[in-house]
Amino acid sequence: MNGAMSGIDALYQEAIKDYARADHGHGRLDAASAAVRLDNPLCGDRISLQVSLAAGRIVAIAHETKGCLLCRAAASLLGKRGPGLDATGVTATTAALEAILEQRSPPPTDWPELGMFAPAGGHPSRHKCVLLPFRALAQAIQQADAVSPANQGADHREH
C-alpha cells in the first residue's frame, strides 16, 4: 500500500490543496455576459460560473463550486488565470488538460499549473471532477458568443 499512499500524496499535493483553499474567483459577478450551472450527476460536483467578456476576451470570472478538492482546485485555477483568455484559449487549455489526464503529454509552458492534475491521470473516475470547471467555462463563452443566450445547454430537464 506504500506505493498507493505516495501516489495519493502526489494526487493531493500542496498545490492542489492551496488552490482549493484559495478559491480564486469565488463569488458572483454583478454584470455577467453569461452564466452556467453544471454538475456531474454521478458524483455531485457542481459549479455555478459567470463570465464577463469584452471583445471576445474574458475580463472577469466568478464561480461558486461545490465538490471535491480536484474540482475546486480546477475552478480556483480558472478563477486566477481565466481572465485574459478568449474562446480559442479556453479550448486549447482544456485540450492540454485532457492530454495531461490521459497521460499523453506534459503541461504547456504557458500553463505549468496544469501539471498539478497529472497524478489524477491514473484515476479515470476523477477526470470528470477536474474537467467540470473547464466545461462550464467553455459553455459560458459559447453562450456569450451565441445570439440568443437562452439555452444554457443544461445537462437535464426538470420534471
Partner: protein, 403 residues
C-alpha cells in the same frame, strides 16, 4: 480438425457433451468460453457496483462495463458507444422502445409490425395500443413466411411513426428485406426498429449501413451470457426519449417534488445493471468480431441447404419457409402431419438431438402458415454435417416410433 470441431472446442457445454447434436441455437446459443471466462474473471477480480464508486475495484468494474459498451458499439457499427443501452435482453429492449418512444406517438398514429414477429415484438405494441390508442398495422406474410412487400406502400402510410420488424424470422429463418422496409419508412418519415435477435449469432451488423434507427438483441443468442441485451438507437432519438424505468443511476437529481433525467445511455439503465453479463457479452462480441465470417456463412448455408434437401426426401415432412435456402438464416421448421412436435422432439432427444417444437412464440406467423406448432432445427457455427445427417436419420426414426 475441421473448422466446426475447432469452433466446438471453444464451447464448454459442447465439449462436455460430445454426443449432443445441439440444434436449438435460435432459442439459446451455447456460451463461448471467452464469455464464461470473462464473467468469472470479472466476478473474482473486479466485482463492484458501477455507479459512482471511486475505489480501484469500482473503477475496474466501471471500465469493464464501459469497454463492453464499446464492444457492442463496434459490433453494430454504432456512431458512438453512447448509443448503446444495456437491457436484460431483446424483450426488455423492445418494451423500452414501445414504452418510451411509444409515449411520443400520438393516438391515431400508426406503428407497423409484421405478421412474422416473435411475441416479444408483438405484444409490447398491442400493450401500447391498449394504453394510448396507437394504431397497430401488420405487414402480412406470403405463404412461405416472407413479408409481403407489395403491401408496404399501403401499410406504411403517412401516419406511420415506427416500423418494427424482425431481421430474420425465428421460425422460418426468412430474412427481411431491410432496405425495402427502410426505404418505405423513410418515404413517410417513419423510424425503423430491427429485432436482431436471430441475426446476431451469424455475425456483426452494420446499423448505419442498414439505415435503421433502433436495433435490439440478446446476449444469450450470440454466445454470450443470459440476462443481458442491447438496445441501440440513434443518439438524437435517445436524447428525445423519456426514461423507461425509474431508479438509481438514471436520474440527474431527485427531490420530493420531482426528478431530472440523466443523459443517455444511463437514462435508460435504472438500477444496478447486469455488469458481469455485459462484460461476458463484450467478450463474446470481441471474439465474433475477430472471426472470418465468409467461410462460416458458406458453411452455415451449405448445412442449411443439405438439411432442406434431406427433409424434402422424407415424404411425410412439410417444410415451412422460403426457398432458396439463401433466403433464410440457417433455421428450418417443418411439420409432419399427424405427429405432434413434442412427440417428435422427445424421440429426437433420445437420439441426442436437441430441437424445440411448439409455436416458438410466433403464433400469428404459425396461424398464417396454417400450423399450430412445428419442429425447428436451427444451426450455428459449431454445427456440422454430422448434426444434419443425425437429424435426418432421427426424423425417419421418430416417424417410425410414433406412427
Amino acid at each position: 480438425m475441421s473448422e466446426a470441431s475447432a469452433l466446438r472446442a471453444k464451447f464448454p457445454l459442447l465439449v462436455a457433451n460430445p454426443g449432443l447434436h445441439y440444434l436449438d441455437s435460435a432459442a439459446t446459443a451455447q456460451l463461448h468460453r471467452s464469455a464464461l471466462d470473462a464473467v468469472v474473471a470479472h466476478e473474482t477480480g473486479a466485482r463492484a457496483n458501477v455507479l459512482r464508486g471511486s475505489y480501484r475495484l469500482a473503477e475496474a468494474a466501471d471500465r469493464a462495463y464501459e469497454a463492453a459498451r464499446q464492444s457492442a458499439a463496434r459490433f453494430l457499427n454504432a456512431a458512438s458507444a453512447d448509443e448503446i443501452v444495456f437491457t436484460g435482453g431483446t424483450t426488455a429492449a423492445l418494451n423500452l422502445v414501445a414504452q418510451s418512444f411509444g409515449s411520443l406517438i400520438e393516438p391515431g398514429d400508426r406503428v407497423v409490425i409484421s405478421q412474422a414477429e416473435h411475441h416479444s415484438n408483438f405484444v409490447p405494441w398491442q400493450m401500447l395500443r391498449e394504453r394510448c390508442g396507437v394504431e397497430l398495422a401488420l405487414i402480412p406474410v406470403l405463404p412461405d413466411g416472407t413479408l409481403d412487400l407489395a403491401c408496404l406502400a399501403q401499410v406504411i402510410d403517412g401516419r406511420t411513426r415506427l416500423v418494427a420488424v424482425t431481421q430474420c424470422s425465428n421460425v422460418t429463418g426468412a430474412r427481411t428485406d431491410v432496405a425495402a422496409i427502410a426505404a418505405a419508412a423513410r418515404k413517410v418519415g417513419a423510424k425503423v426498429l430491427l429485432d436482431g435477435a436471430q441475426a446476431v449469432q451469424h455475425g456483426p451488423q452494420d446499423v448505419q449501413a442498414m439505415g435503421v434507427d433502433f436495433y435490439a438483441f440478446s446476449g444469450h443468442k450470440c454466445f454470450g451470457p443470459g440476462g443481458i441485451g442491447v438496445l441501440w438507437a440513434r443518439a438524437e432519438l435517445l436524447a428525445a426519449m423519456p426514461p423507461f424505468h425509474g431508479g438509481g443511476g438514471m436520474i440527474g437529481a431527485v427531490t420530493a417534488e420531482g426528478y431530472t433525467w440523466a443523459e443517455p445511455p444511463r437514462r435508460f439503465e435504472a438500477g444496478t445493471p447486469p455488469i458481469a453479463q455485459a462484460v461476458g457479452l463484450g467478450a463474446a462480441l470481441d471474439w465474433m468480431m475477430d472471426l472470418d465470417w465468409v467461410p462460416i456463412h458458406a458453411r452455415e448455408g451449405a448445412m442449411c441447404e443439405a438439411l432442406i434437401d434431406g427433409l424434402r426426401r422424407i415424404p411425410e415432412v412439410r417444410l415451412l419457409g422460403p426457398e432458396p435456402s439463401s433466403a433464410r438464416a440457417p433455421i428450418v421448421s417443418f411439420d409432419i402431419a399427424g405427429l405432434h412436435p413434442h412427440d417428435i422432439c422427445q424421440v429426437l432427444d433420445a437420439q441426442g438431438l436437441a430441437l424445440r417444437g411448439g409455436h416458438h412464440c410466433a403464433q400469428p406467423l404459425l396461424a398464417a402458415l396454417g400450423v399450430e406448432a412445428c419442429t425447428r432445427a436451427s444451426l450455428a457455427l459449431y454445427n456440422d454435417e454430422a448434426d444434419v445427417a443425425a437429424l435426418l436419420a432421427g426424423i425417419v426414426r421418430a416417424i417410425g416410433v410414433l406412427r
